[in-house]
Amino acid sequence: MKMPTRLQNEANKENLLINMGPSHPAMHGTIRIMLELDGEKILNSEVEVGYLHRGFEKTCEHKTFFNLLPYTDRLNYVSPLINNLGYVMTMEKMLGIEIPERSQYIRVILCEMSRVSDHLTALAAMTMECGAFTAFLYYIQAREELWTIIEETTGARMTTSYIRIGGVRADLHPDIKTRLAKATKINRRVLKDNHGLLDKNRIWIDRTRDVAVVSPKMAVDYGFSGPCLRASKVNYDVRKAQPYLVYDQLDFEVPLGDNGDNYDRYLVRMKEMEQSLRIIEQCLNKIPKSSGPDELMLKGLEPEDVIKTSRSKRVEDTVKLSPNLEGSEKVKYPGILTKDKKYIVPPKEDTYTSIEGLINHFKFFMKGNGIRPPKGDVYFSVEGGSGEVGFYIVSDGTDKPYRLHLRGPCFHIVSALEEMIKGHYVADVIPTFGSVNMIGGELDR
């Protein structure tokens, strides 16, 4: 921290050096930008990262494949289900598992809800820092509606660990169609209001049009992906280029921008949210029915009686489980999890009433056993909120990964930030940085 930085060495001695430090309201908390100024114009800049480096890759080498799922939630913490999905699909590619169709639709619904909440948070932060406080409050209200539904389905508002290897953890709420219909209606109203507030607003256009223009060649050169690449008119979306899950059966468009400036990045995100809401509605119409009854399992035998009876003879009736296991009863398993028993947690009815279930449970969780993929390395990527989220996993046959590497999309976009703000004013740094949507957990890992 005491050595002079590159900017201090290179800068002209007469120009002013300013530090937008690590604890700054508009820096999303964890980045340091040093600027060399001539009046208010930026001549040169340097970006310093690493203030949220939490040692994710090294920690994962010491945890088993099942145990490291909560660490993946906290990477891109505004859309945690998409990181879960990226990791889990990489493991499924390595292990060669087939998952049932209902669970694929459930994954798509939750991922699109996560993507909408990512764009809402990004635009909320960007507009608040420019001064549009009303737009920020409307966006957060829309996000609360989605997070309430995510909490009813997965159990947590944010860091969910819901998408697991082999499927998902629990089935959807039986009343999900009406609740999601209400949430999408509120989201559409919020999007319409914000289009009216910002699209033709003189102040917004003056602050974001023709600022930090990124040409298509520069975008591909720096490895951009996601909305920032599509705002520069390059058509690359992982959901269309290498379709995974059921995206090839759904009908949605990929919006493109014109110039590649901040205004286009804002507009592409707004249009993508509309497309995500369309995908959610199509999925709710096409999803296959769940195996097992629709109403909540509040009837059945008491657990203590079942455990006592199972000591002498096998029990086949339904058991009344505790409320936090709702959705993951044995009767729902064929719809949500794969048939291959080696990679999933067995249902609780089997674990407590039969010896095979107990042995399955024991072998899954015991250190040294559990999920042991074949030797080799694999790379797979999904479309995240900021771009292409890729996982590269090297396995050596044991139950822990030998090396796990995340290809974070924000890393490549922020590495181009120094070039994007050159020649603009100090006040242009704020909307530029907001439109880039830097998330510290993904940038620094």
Binding site: M3, Y236, V378, D444
Partner: protein, 163 residues
């Protein structure tokens, strides 16, 4: 252009430099000698192969094997939708490799990260410094012989850990 044709052309043009062609879980992987990295990558970047995007650049530490480190590059072509993985092995006492900064802009920060975490030196890199760790940090954290919990605090703590 299909990925099979790309591999055929590479076999014809660079038969001495590429030591191994394989397929891992459906991905195409080539193993390359260190000196010919820049030539192969320049050939792949031009038309008609069009591998215009450097997706990722990382390193793996195989402690106990000789040579110890392995650099892994992922390339992607937007127009042809092809993916390719390039691997190079480096020995511990000769940890240098050519830098890809003249070809791609994001190679700058990616190589700084690999230098910070593993200690690999990149020839002709314009500004090779630590990226994530702070000045005064000794050692390379992601190597296998660096212990997980060895902390090097910058400012004095008010009390120590109980363990």
């Amino acid at each position: 252009m299909e990925i099979k044709k790309v591999i055929e052309e590479l076999k014809v043009k660079f038969k001495d430099d590429i030591t191994e062609f394989s397929k891992q879980f459906g991905d195409d992987v080539i193993r390359v000698k260190r000196e010919s990295l820049l030539d192969i990558v320049r050939f792949l970047k031009k038309t008609p192969h069009n591998f215009a995007m450097l997706l990722d650049l990382t390193c793996v530490d195989y402690m106990g094997e000789e040579p110890r480190f392995e650099m892994v590059y992922h390339l992607y072509s937007i127009s042809n939708k092809n993916r390719l993985r390039i691997k190079i092995r480096l020995a511990e006492d000769d940890l240098k490799i050519d830098s890809l900064t003249p070809l791609w802009g994001n190679a700058n920060w990616l190589e700084r990260e690999v230098f910070d975490m593993f200690g690999v030196h990149f020839i002709d890199h314009p500004d090779l410094r630590r990226l994530f760790m702070y000045d005064g940090f000794e050692g390379y954290p992601l190597r296998k012989d660096y212990p997980l919990r060895k902390r090097q605090p910058i400012i004095p703590m008010r009390y120590e850990d109980a363990d």
